[in-house]
Amino acid sequence: MEKKTVVSYTLEHCVRCMRCVQMCPTSALSMIDDKVIINDGKCLNCGRCIRACHSKGLLASGSSIDAIRDYDYTVCLVPSAMISSCRSLDEAENLFFAVKELGFDEVVDITDVEGRVMKETRFLSEHEEGQTIISSMCPVINRLIEERYPMLIDNIAPLNYPSEIAAKQIRKKYQDKGKLGIFYCCECEAKLPLAKYPYNNMEYEVDHALAIVDIFPMIRENLDKGRIPVTFCREGLQSCNPTMMIQTQSDLIADGYDKINDILDMTEFGLLDSFKILHLFPCFNGCIGGHLLWGNSYLTKNNIDALTYKWRKAPADLIFEDMYTNDFNKTDDDPRSFMEKMTFFQKVNEQLEKLPGYDCSACGMQTCRIMAEEIVKGTRKVDDCHIIHSMREKGK
C-alpha cells in the first residue's frame, strides 16, 4: 500500500536552487510551477531534502501533544535514541519524569523490546543458511531496498518495528483502561509514519507519533523537577548506535548514506555473502544522529555505558506473532509486459539523446533521464529544457 510522505512543502515563493530535488535518493522530488512536488510512492522519508533546503521550505512534523486529551489513559514510548542523550542514569530519571509531566499516565522505555529484536535478528542470521540478514529496524533502509535494491527484499529480517511490538504489548496489558492512547517519541522523520496519526497509517498500534524536537521545549521546563526510577536494556541501547554495538566477525555495521549504498550494491553482486548480518544506518552515528533529537551524536554516543553500569534489564520475552511481519515481501507489481517496458525504455533513450545530459535539474526534474521519461509520458516538452531553450533563443 502506498503511504503518504511525511515531508510537506511550505513556501510561497521558492528560490529554485534545486538542492532538494538533486538530493533525493529515489528521484521522488520534482519542481513544477515553482512548487516542490513529492511522489508519495517513491519517498523514503529519509529527510535529506529537508536538510538540503536553505530556506526551511520543507518540513516533517509529528502529532500535537494536545491529542493526549482524546484518551482515558495515555502511555508514552521512549526509544533508546532519546535515552542515549542522557549522560547518566540520574539524567535519564529526570527525563522520564519530565516526559510524564507532559500529561501522560505512564512513560515506558522500549529498550527491552529493541534488545529482543536485535537478538532475534541474530537468531535469524544463525538459522538462515547462506542468507545474509539485513536488520529491519530502520524504515529508511527497508524503503530504500524496496525502491532501489528490490533483489534484496528477501534479505530483510521479517521483524516488526520495536515501537509496534511495544504498542501491541501495552494494548494487551491495558485492555480495561478505557480508551488507551499510545504515543511514540520519534528521533527521526522516518519513524513519524509508524503511527495512526498524524499520517493516517491506521494499520499501526501506536496512536500518535511525536517529533522529539517539538516537545523538547516543554520537557526542558520540567527536567529538574523530579525523577522516575528506570532501568534499561543494554542490547537495546546498543541497537541505535553503530559504534557501541557488539560486533562479531560475521557482522557488518555501517553508517552514512553513501557507504550503505556501496554496501547494498556489493550485496547485490553477492560479494558480501560471508557476512551474516548487515546493520545499516543512513544517519551518521545511527539513530542517535536522528534529526529530531536535540543532542550532538558525537558527544552522546558514549553515554550507553553510564546508563547501564548499575542496573540492567534483560531483553523482553515476546511471542512470535507480535515480533514477526511479512510487510517486506513486496513482489514485482509492475503490470507492464516485457515488450511494453522495452518500448518505453527505447522511447526514453531517443528523447535522452536530444537532451544535453548535464543533469542540472533546471527544468525541475532531477536528471535528464527523468525529464526524458516525462517527455515520453507527455507531461513535458523538449523545449522545457532551459539549456535547449536558451540555445534556441540565441540562434534566432
Partner: protein, 141 residues
C-alpha cells in the same frame, strides 16, 4: 528473434580499480528497463563473476550484452587468452588458480565458474590457448 538493445564494453587486465564497473552498468541498465528482481539478481552475480575472471585470470577482453525481443538476454565474455588449461577442474567448486594479490582483495575463492553456471539459464564455454568465450543466457519473460 531480434536484438533490441546492444551494448559493448571493454575490460583491461589487472585493472582492479575499475573492477565491477561493467557489471554495475549492466545491472543499472536492466534495472532501469524494469527487469524483475529475481532475474536481475542472477544476471548481476553472473556478470560480476565473469567480469572479474577476465580481469584477474585473462588478459582483459570484450563484453557484450544483447536484449532480444522474445524476452531473453545474452551476455558474451570474450578474452584473448591464455585459456583455461583444465576446464573440468575449473568447473569444480573451490578450485582456484588466483594469485595471492587477487585473493587478498577478496577475489579468487574458487567459486567463479560453478557459480556462474548455477545462476545462468544457459551456459556455454569454449576455451583454447587463443582465448575463452563464455556465453550466458537469461530468460526474462
Amino acid at each position: 528473434m531480434n536484438s533490441i538493445l546492444h551494448k559493448d564494453y571493454t575490460v583491461v587486465r589487472d585493472d582492479y580499480a575499475r573492477a565491477g564497473k561493467v557489471s554495475s552498468d549492466i545491472k543499472a541498465t536492466l534495472s532501469t528497463i524494469g527487469i524483475p528482481p529475481s532475474v536481475l539478481r542472477n544476471i548481476a552475480v553472473a556478470s560480476y563473476e565473469s567480469e572479474i575472471n577476465m580481469i584477474i585470470h585473462a588478459w582483459g577482453g570484450d563484453i557484450t550484452m544483447d536484449v532480444f525481443d522474445n524476452g531473453t538476454i545474452t551476455l558474451v565474455f570474450k578474452d584473448p587468452g591464455p585459456g583455461i588449461p583444465d576446464l573440468e577442474k575449473a568447473m569444480t567448486p573451490g578450485w582456484s588458480t588466483a594469485s595471492d594479490e587477487a585473493r587478498n582483495m577478496g577475489f579468487g575463492a574458487g567459486m567463479g565458474l560453478p557459480n556462474i553456471k548455477r545462476v545462468s539459464d544457459t551456459f556455454d564455454i569454449e576455451t583454447s590457448e587463443k582465448g575463452t568465450t563464455i556465453t550466458l543466457g537469461f530468460t526474462v519473460a
